[in-house]
Symmetry: D2
Subunit: 290 residues, 4 copies
Amino acid sequence: MINAKLVAQSHPNHQTIVQISETVAFGGKELVIIGGPCTVESLEQMETVAQHLEGSSVQALRGGVYKPRTSPYAFQGMGEAGLDVLAQVRSLYNMPVVTEVMSIAQIEAIATYVDMLQVGSRNMQNFDLLKALGQAGKPILLKRGLAATIEEFVMAAEYVVSHGNPDVVLCERGIRSFDNYTRNVLDLAAVVALKQITHLPVIVDPSHAVGKRELVAPLAKAAVACGADGLIIECHPEPEKSVSDARQALSLEDMVSLVDSLKPVALAVGRTISETKGVGFKPTPICCVA
Amino acid sequence: MINAKLVAQSHPNHQTIVQISETVAFGGKELVIIGGPCTVESLEQMETVAQHLEGSSVQALRGGVYKPRTSPYAFQGMGEAGLDVLAQVRSLYNMPVVTEVMSIAQIEAIATYVDMLQVGSRNMQNFDLLKALGQAGKPILLKRGLAATIEEFVMAAEYVVSHGNPDVVLCERGIRSFDNYTRNVLDLAAVVALKQITHLPVIVDPSHAVGKRELVAPLAKAAVACGADGLIIECHPEPEKSVSDARQALSLEDMVSLVDSLKPVALAVGRTISETKGVGFKPTPICCVA
Amino acid sequence: MINAKLVAQSHPNHQTIVQISETVAFGGKELVIIGGPCTVESLEQMETVAQHLEGSSVQALRGGVYKPRTSPYAFQGMGEAGLDVLAQVRSLYNMPVVTEVMSIAQIEAIATYVDMLQVGSRNMQNFDLLKALGQAGKPILLKRGLAATIEEFVMAAEYVVSHGNPDVVLCERGIRSFDNYTRNVLDLAAVVALKQITHLPVIVDPSHAVGKRELVAPLAKAAVACGADGLIIECHPEPEKSVSDARQALSLEDMVSLVDSLKPVALAVGRTISETKGVGFKPTPICCVA
Amino acid sequence: MINAKLVAQSHPNHQTIVQISETVAFGGKELVIIGGPCTVESLEQMETVAQHLEGSSVQALRGGVYKPRTSPYAFQGMGEAGLDVLAQVRSLYNMPVVTEVMSIAQIEAIATYVDMLQVGSRNMQNFDLLKALGQAGKPILLKRGLAATIEEFVMAAEYVVSHGNPDVVLCERGIRSFDNYTRNVLDLAAVVALKQITHLPVIVDPSHAVGKRELVAPLAKAAVACGADGLIIECHPEPEKSVSDARQALSLEDMVSLVDSLKPVALAVGRTISETKGVGFKPTPICCVA
């Protein structure tokens, strides 16, 4: 019924492993937790985030520098200056970094600075972008479209893989529905289905799915329980001051607590979450950052 | 924003406990698992189900005798003869029984025979039925409407409670959406929200939500992980021969395995699932059933 | 694909005509326009409405006396006193009257007083009510459920007809969707499809569909253009003071203008709208109302 | 509530006129009908279409040469060779031509050959493409996203206009919903709302909205009746042989009949449809096509 070829689950135990750094890989027994703000606002902001998270089980940082905004008059992201911020925190804190790519012209620069390129929901069927990402040379985090069927989502991944890039991680982030109590409806059945249909890693973004921080932690546990390979969660040093999506970001303290609370759930379903080095642990700074 | 009075969570640790038998209660630390077929087809069928499940952690039986069917020409359920079947298995196997009520005229008979009356999705806003159930004298299992908002769901419960019956358990069972890969979209964020908004127990029906048996077990785990107080899951001695919803029913063996697999997840979030007495354990039959 | 029997279009020119008074019938060349408030509030209110509309092309009155409300604390309608109001205006102004029935127990009383019983969206799959309406002895106005598929809608009509009542008029009134700019999404393709699938008359309720009065008139024209057999439109002497759905009701003046503006559209598609007798025309009052 | 600036309706009678040829303009009293196949398949195919339609009231041709397809293995369109076909029929039959642009890299070539660049539903929030189209130098036909709110749609137009291109025509083409009887749900209330919110022309694509040819004509009439400024309708010399969307294309004969049937509806709402020169009228061929 779903006519994927390259991403289709062809035999039961095939599982693609997508490596984004020496130690961080999606699709293995260990789950990958990505944390960080919706938008990169300054080096200081990202350093504060990284300092808090580096000692926790959060293994990768997120932060948007090219932002898809409904209004052309809303802040569109720091652009290249933001990429520079990401490169600095990446190097200083030794954490891989994920950021969104919105157009073919941005691919080269982003791929130079970060470890994983995110395709946002609004671009899930931007087929020319998907084809170009087949040659990006870096792993892709492909978010489900706002109203994409499971078939369309799988076939979007097939576009990237069939154009040369096997390193695709799928991300369920909620779909549009009639109830505005939550921003979107988190579709965990899609996670289960995608794990059965494809051999790609599948992660979950509960923050964008629900849009209310008080709902994030229980849904993160649910995602782990049903077999997700990781999570991407928004957090911010001062959530209420976030330039975008302020209502859904966790404080850094809550982020660390949330991740800790996931560990027993992961174990209950045969998975693990990386060791905590200790909240606030700060490694020796590297003197000369590129 | 949601103007519930009686069912609203007024102070943090208020939790309604809904007791359906001496030993089975929703809302406590122990989760309640309800199992059984979509439709009661015969005494033999229900006995087979009960024999398998009584020794497992499944604590209550389900089975429809009045069936809401899209077509007037589809089997409408066994009716009163089915109530008699339910009464017999209830007595023989000492398990509380849940069945659907479709109209005010059925309340008295159903309340005489079973332990909990289910209001189906299509009747969630059948307000006259809800009012009448305020006087049913038995606990109510209220399923979310196919496209009911969280507010409408909460207020439907308020109808029952404000008309005299405080024993309401909410059940998330999937909402309508655009993708027909699954039958509905299971909305676990609603479970989390309902637990925050109300003090009522909230359970999940993953079977009707997804409509495909291979997706049920992981979603049952997810439901437990995000804080559900129980599950209602379809199972059948010969799923492919079920007179209704054959595609989603589990075999009895898979049902028992599923329930066992939930135990570590429950523990991981501070909950428990009742002891297993041993699969297939058969108590001494009672000689004279009413 | 849709397994209706009695309501299915079996040969191209079969069209059921549903007569609700000597001169008002759905399904013929002449369209039927029903107008009136969401809720019957007083005899005075209904008289004001009737006085304005009786001279226009509006041929029937609507007004709810049993109201399905999300909250049990909202006004539930005038009940039997409201039926009495409807009976009086019906008799005084010689206009047939439509009102909603919410439960089996109300059928007899409502059928005694009014000319057509409306089944609301929330009860479209209240199958026991549908079956009982098969014996109501009066025509049924069946509104589409909030998230009912076309198949489910057709089969709901089949319930009524197969239980003995061939006089069913279908009403499209908008379905739930993700955008809250309008209250629901008016699905005129459903009207076209229903006219092809069944031989029943199909009318449109643009007021509930969109929930904003400034959108009603153009959509009423669209409904006529695509083949609807009539319209049901909310209007109120003082829309902003309506006890329910104030945002969508037209003033009585706007209602009359709207109906006039439909006439050329009706003619353009080979239909007619009844003669205007002149706005405000008042017939000799009947001295002794029942 | 909707924070558009440049496209917002600021005073009641402001209406943008978008000219795509000397004689064809959107937004005036005369409606614009665009016809043609989903996909350009050959010069012969497009000539057959143009021969049939040039004598009718269809004023512009459509045909995709870059095709957004769910699967990377489906036909992706003729590409530049298709642009050449469009240029030839445009010149031979003196009809303006519309085709879809999928990426920034295609803009220059497409803008050289055709009269209007279409942004497809999947790219409605491809913001970098929208920004670049601000400099395209040709009018834009912006289709509503599959699950775009009215606000998002309006703001997508604002992106194009605020980047330098005032010539934007909006196109409602159906939104995703739960019923698969039709492909999407045609949202004519959005047309009415968009006409009130913005001063841009708004047209309707009933073919993609419903996906079934037997529903297209009545919905085209409905679109005209509610105030649409034009229509874009799929037709094909042999609909059942169309390489894409075969189920929804009209035959060329049906297309001409449909357009004729719209004329009285247009008149009924104070609009006109261009004169018919006579079906099949063939102008003197131009000897040397570029």
